[in-house]
Amino acid sequence: MPSDMILNRRVFATGLVAAAALASLPRPAQALTADAAKALVDRTVATVNSIINSGKSEAAMLKEFEKLFVTYADVPTIARSVLGTAARSASKGQLAAYTKAFQGYISRKYGRRFREFEGGKIDVAEARAVKSYFEVISTARLKGEAPFEVRWHVSDKSGRDLFFNIIIEGVNMLASERTEMGALLDQRGGDLDRLIADLKTL
């Protein structure tokens, strides 16, 4: 009996040591962390600021913004999500053409609005894991405006750490663009090719 006790205790102790050792091992394949998500948003914000303060022409800035989107956002995923159910019936070629057109469209649309950030700044406060993604919370402080909250949703499901949604005071970019794209497609009688052609000019 006493020997059993000792054995048990020893087993227990060994287990403890093993558990401790396991815990101290580097975590495998934890690709995206809160810090990495925060770092992505920090880099994005820094790039936005440098573009705005570059003093370049609007056309040049819009090009820079497109590069920024491609670098820091998961553009193919956003494009496809925004297209909604129509993406499922699209051919591979159509989807590729649409994604490319969307990339330019979204860069121009939001790039033009980024001017409003001139002289302002965005403070990145915190990042936390939520379900399958990370949420980074930041505060935008623009000249003459009350500060407002900007949330970034970041994922590594594309293989890289990229953001896939921005939520400004509750207003959701993906939801808003879905509504817009749905309406644009409806106006063209559901003709994806016409939508692709027109997106290039919007």
Binding site: S81, R113, N165, I167, N172, T179, G182
Partner: protein
């Protein structure tokens, strides 16, 4: 606030709103969990939206451009005074919401701005780190457990819900400033409010213009924007820093088989998963 692009005025409007309010409040029910869009009056709402757009194009937008030539400090002072005049109503609502800290903060704001802020022309309180907490009776109703009810677009007043329409009616009718001031001064307060709204229209003109005149479906965009922002303000759906639910998350990485389901089900508290579709093929 800045999203409220139209302004309310006129007795007739108030009366018709009151009718709508009484008719609608019963249908509000409990607060919805959701993020969905409840818009049974869409055809009517759409024609009111068209009317509002016409008013904006013909009157509001040109008037705001005219008001735009007024020097910035004057516009600031007008906006600050209008905000200060809102404070007694805010405080009353804070009390009705049993949010005593906010009531105290807003009272302090009122006192600060009326004295050091030269009669409300300077927003001294914000300078001193006492930020504004605007509220309204719609929020009070929310706190009391009234659901938002169907979406409505009001003539001249713009996007709202049945609950928030009732709130607006109560706020306008029972505004402490209006009740306390003599008729002339109350009128002056209303005029100030109108100019403040014109100032908002001008300050946010890029945003408003792109929403109203550049989107493919300005009605649907305005509806989405209002509902999302309103739910955010009220701390439902959009979430505040305190909430931990995955607000606004849309999963774009999710499986397409579940996509239809997800589209039909209420969206996961604003979360959009853009991955729900794309990589599945």
């Amino acid at each position: 606030m800045g999203l409220n692009i139209f302004f309310i005025s006129g007795q007739n409007l108030r009366r018709s709103l009151a009718v709508l309010a009484v008719a609608g409040l019963a249908g509000c029910g409990a607060p919805p969990a959701g993020n969905g869009i409840n818009d049974p009056f869409e055809p009517t709402n759409r024609s009111i939206h068209a009317f509002n757009k016409g008013v904006d194009r013909a009157l509001l937008s040109p008037a705001s451009k005219g008001y735009g030539v007024v020097p910035e400090p004057v516009k600031r002072a007008v906006a600050n005074m209008a905000d200060t005049l809102d404070l007694p109503g805010d405080i009353a609502n804070n009390l009705l919401q049993l949010r005593l800290v906010k009531a105290a903060e807003n009272t302090l704001r009122l006192a600060t701005n009326l004295t050091f802020g030269l009669g409300g022309t300077i927003d001294m309180a914000s300078e001193l780190g006492l930020p504004e907490h605007p509220t309204d009776f719609g929020e009070t109703l929310h706190v009391w457990g009234v659901g938002e009810g169907p979406y409505v677009e009001l003539p001249l007043a713009g996007p709202s819900t049945v609950r928030d329409t009732v709130g607006t009616v109560v706020d306008v009718a029972l505004n402490p400033v209006r009740l306390a001031l003599p008729e002339k001064e109350a009128m002056a307060a209303t005029v100030l409010k109108v100019f403040s709204r014109l100032g908002d229209r001008e300050r946010f003109s890029d945003t408003v213009d792109s929403l109203l005149y550049e989107s493919a479906d300005s009605y649907a965009q305005a509806r989405l924007l209002y509902l999302q922002n309103r739910r955010f303000e009220l701390g439902q759906g959009g979430g505040t820093a305190a909430t931990t639910s995955d607000d606004g998350f849309i999963d774009p990485y999710a499986d397409p088989a579940t996509d239809t389901e997800a589209a039909a089900a209420p969206v996961d508290d604003g979360f959009i998963d853009p991955y729900e579709d794309p990589y599945a093929e």
